[in-house]
Symmetry: C2
Subunit: 311 residues, 2 copies
Amino acid sequence: MSRFAVLGGGGFLGVNLCRFLLQAGHEVTSFGRSMPFQRVLAGCECIEGDYRDQAAVGRAIHRADVVFHLISDSTPQAANADMVMDIENNLVPTVSLLKTCAETGIRRVIFISSGGTVYGRVQSIPIHEDAPIEPITAYGVTKVSIEKYLAIFEYLHGLDYRVVRLANPYGPFQRSAKGQGVIAAFVERIVDNRPLEIWGDGNVVRDYIFVDDAMEALVAAANDTSSHRVFNVGSGIGHSLNDLVRELESLLGRPLKVAYRQGRPVDVPVNVLAIQRARDVLGWAPRTDMRQGLEATLGWASSWMAQGVTV
Amino acid sequence: MSRFAVLGGGGFLGVNLCRFLLQAGHEVTSFGRSMPFQRVLAGCECIEGDYRDQAAVGRAIHRADVVFHLISDSTPQAANADMVMDIENNLVPTVSLLKTCAETGIRRVIFISSGGTVYGRVQSIPIHEDAPIEPITAYGVTKVSIEKYLAIFEYLHGLDYRVVRLANPYGPFQRSAKGQGVIAAFVERIVDNRPLEIWGDGNVVRDYIFVDDAMEALVAAANDTSSHRVFNVGSGIGHSLNDLVRELESLLGRPLKVAYRQGRPVDVPVNVLAIQRARDVLGWAPRTDMRQGLEATLGWASSWMAQGVTV
């Protein structure tokens, strides 16, 4: 049994990770601005607080062996619109966090970086970890900067770390209201009986990974003993938005209405991660295909929305 | 004739660049926290101000075609000691500057990055522009982040730019009091008749470039019409600290006392830049060998210190 602190524990990935760790019998402290799904986290110590409040963050991590850093107070669109805000709210508190972790004697920090934005517009897919890092959004730059600060804290202070460059995760507890995830938005509109919305022509290709698979990779990264520091984690398979629509139509057995909107400059045309390093080094592999994942997500959304919860 | 704004115009590189541009008949506005060498900048518009004051920066650049960004309110040691301060004082105001440049219709931004810190501990020398970017100081991370933001501003707003990853520049107007440059420190101690100080065993190898050569490269980058965005600028030749001492001894015709101190973790063991891209694309080449450069620097320091100026 280990003691884990999950920063960003109130969000989509955080709730899933806390549940996953609790089920495995670990001690978990969840820290976040709000805890909308606290009732599914029995046995979890939940601390509400602002990430920029160093003392509060310090209380959340002080007993932990391993800290998962899942906080991202931004989206690619929001970060481009106000880059200084993005630096102040994400980069600065993370540097302070790493200082606290080094001083507290945290064994390892696992940082969830963005496999979908750090590489930018790539020449070829799938994208390996050592591909050029050329983000086209401030969101991606901040993630890259945090990765670099992690390396410096290890170099200067011996703070161990792993970076998980996560593809596009989806599944239960993802809420489209937060501007996260096209699958969450699709599923919500299906349950709500509204037409789906697509930015661009629907040919944008992404690597969607079911959240349970992603959580297994995070835990494997926490236990990794290799000399690697950065791991791509995705399904390794590309799906276009139009593919997703067809898969949902096939699952539901009926056609779906789609409204196509103007494309956005923050969207790279294609992103599929090479996941061989995570397979080889972490002994991890994704296990959920797109159909199974979408089915689980639809089931979750229907049940939560039936309870009157806004997903 | 073009109109240039030089941000950081009061510092070592800034004074040299302003002089160089003025001599070529250009209109120059120099902006900096202080202007200690204003008397050598006849005809230059000099504006004193804080880089974090966006309005003041806006006034300095509003008539410029090209903006040279030479400001660095930090050193590798200072940045590691207070990384948040480094972000707040360097990264944040630069992002604001780029926004202002995009809004003002600046034709091009030339950013002086750090060839000595962005690459980190390298596997092989000389270091090409596409070598891995693995800084071991927060100073280097900030430089890398700024490079990435430049790419994003070009992508989003069409703001043209060039990055010059400068090796270790030295020459007239460099002052050791600012914590800059081992050659400035050596020369000052020689003029002052004190023993030289070396951190480590003196085998640390750097690529020292005489400032006049560096200035020619900056102007070439301002005029570049290629699709390249990043250029290494150095001598392409490595010298150890002990080499420098021997060269100075040979120039002076007498032995120098050296005090060896404990090495510092911010110092990578070796850094020599590959400068073929700047040679081929910019048509530029360094022209001053180490002996000539040291002689010019010694001459300048002796004459300024004879005038009672603290260099």
